[in-house]
Amino acid sequence: MARATFQVEILTPEGEVFNEQVEMLSTRTAVGSIGVLANHTPLLGLLEPTELRLYRSESEIVRFAQGEGYIQVGENRALVLVEEAIAPQDLDEQDLREKLRVAEADVASAEEGSEAQRRAIRDRRRWQAFLEVSGSSGG
């Protein structure tokens, strides 16, 4: 039996990338992985880079490499506000590897405890997450 659905809008600085009814949304906040179903309690969360999954049905899943951002849930709608939401097939694995390499070098060379180092750690985490999404798409 089909589950109840709710509206999900994904908005990035470069425009809207998704606005549809889905059965479930899964992503990761600063606290941990979450799955959002219809009629979820109101929520405001910090999103960490991960694979964002939107279940149109149990078998039809739309996936994105999701950057840092926010999620707001209420009134049976969800707004996902992220810096990036990239379809797996649009990820450039080689480019991501290069970015990850630079971030790792920056983490190592930056002064311990500096903002430059914290920033490099954020970059490293993002490119790692994107690489995982790119790898799991088989491309």
Binding site: G15, A30, P42, L44, A116
Partner: protein, 302 residues
């Protein structure tokens, strides 16, 4: 000039006109897309404002304590970010930013302060390198079509330099987009971020249409607590400001190039007209010369 030389020049100017008119059309098409990207940022920026309001209300309104908002007592090192283009052929687009940047640096020096340059666009980078003012941060290869990731990279470099104390203030200079025909040089302070910027965003959000879940914040789950969310929202304002500057600059660049190429095309048409007149005159002179020779020859036979 002989008739043949003039004809050759006409052909070459016609070729130039073909190129400038193609460049004008390409710039016009890209300008439309650049305008769309500026429009596409608005809903995102609005949603960030509304989330800031919600997080600030839930956190008790306190945004203080964020290092990006901390004003330094002495601002001895000032970062100047010059937003230029990768390419030229756009009138005064690049030179007016570079000139304004050099003047700003001179003013700072006169006050006993040190300027550190950051530059986007190959034109700005190479101008500074040529003047032995090597930019600390160099960002090239995207000026016609900047992505948010480009803005984030620049903003994060600047914020890290600010928080780690390498610079005490950050200013950005870019061509603000007014219309395809009009751009203006804008100079804005990026850091320290003004408390007023956040307060105004919160006030503006109150006037905008509501969003899911906002009415009942007592019942809202926060992951993590609203104070942490609020602190994470603050750097977004710097990123969005940099992104907006890059977008406006790209629209301005394309507008300037379109205008420059239109006048180049018009000039070429004028030159072609003048040369065609000249060629006709040369041809007429040659014909007259030949008739005179024929007449003279005939007369000598009489």
């Amino acid at each position: 000039m002989s008739q043949r030389d003039v004809k050759q020049r006409i052909d070459s100017v016609k070729n130039i006109r073909k190129i400038t008119s193609a460049m004008q059309m390409v710039a016009a098409a890209r300008l439309r897309r650049a305008e769309q990207r500026i429009a596409a940022l608005r809903p995102y920026a609005g949603a960030i404002r509304r989330m800031t309001r919600q997080a600030a209300e839930a956190a008790g309104g306190e945004v203080a304590g964020n290092p990006l908002l901390a004003q330094r007592e002495s601002e001895s090192n000032v970062a100047i970010v010059l937003v230029t283009a990768d390419r030229g052929l756009a009138g005064a687009f690049n030179s007016q930013i570079i000139r304004a940047g050099l003047r700003a640096a001179e003013d700072l020096r006169a006050e006993g302060k040190q300027a550190r340059f950051y530059a986007t666009g190959r034109r700005g980078v190479s101008s500074l390198v040529f003047r032995k003012l090597e930019p600390v941060g160099q960002y090239v290869g995207f000026t016609e079509r900047p992505a948010y990731a480009n803005a984030r990279e620049i903003a994060e470099d600047l914020m890290a330099a600010y928080v780690d104390g390498q610079v005490d203030r950050v200013e950005i200079l870019y061509n603000g987009y007014i219309s395809p025909l009009t751009q203006e040089v804008r100079r804005e302070v990026l850091l320290p971020l003004q408390r007023a910027t956040i307060d105004e965003a919160i006030a503006q959000a109150a006037t905008e249409p509501s969003h899911p879940g906002h009415e009942h914040h007592a019942l809202v789950d926060y992951e993590p607590e609203p104070g942490v969310i609020l602190q994470r929202l603050i750097p977004d304002y710097v990123e969005i400001s940099v992104y907006r500057a890059l977008l406006e600059s790209s629209a301005s660049e394309l507008g300037a190039r379109m205008t420059a190429m239109r006048s180049a095309t018009d000039n070429a048409s004028e030159v072609i007209e003048d040369l065609t007149l000249e060629m006709n005159r040369a041809r007429q002179a040659e014909i007259t010369q030949e008739i005179m020779e024929v007449v003279a020859g005939a007369e000598s036979l009489v």
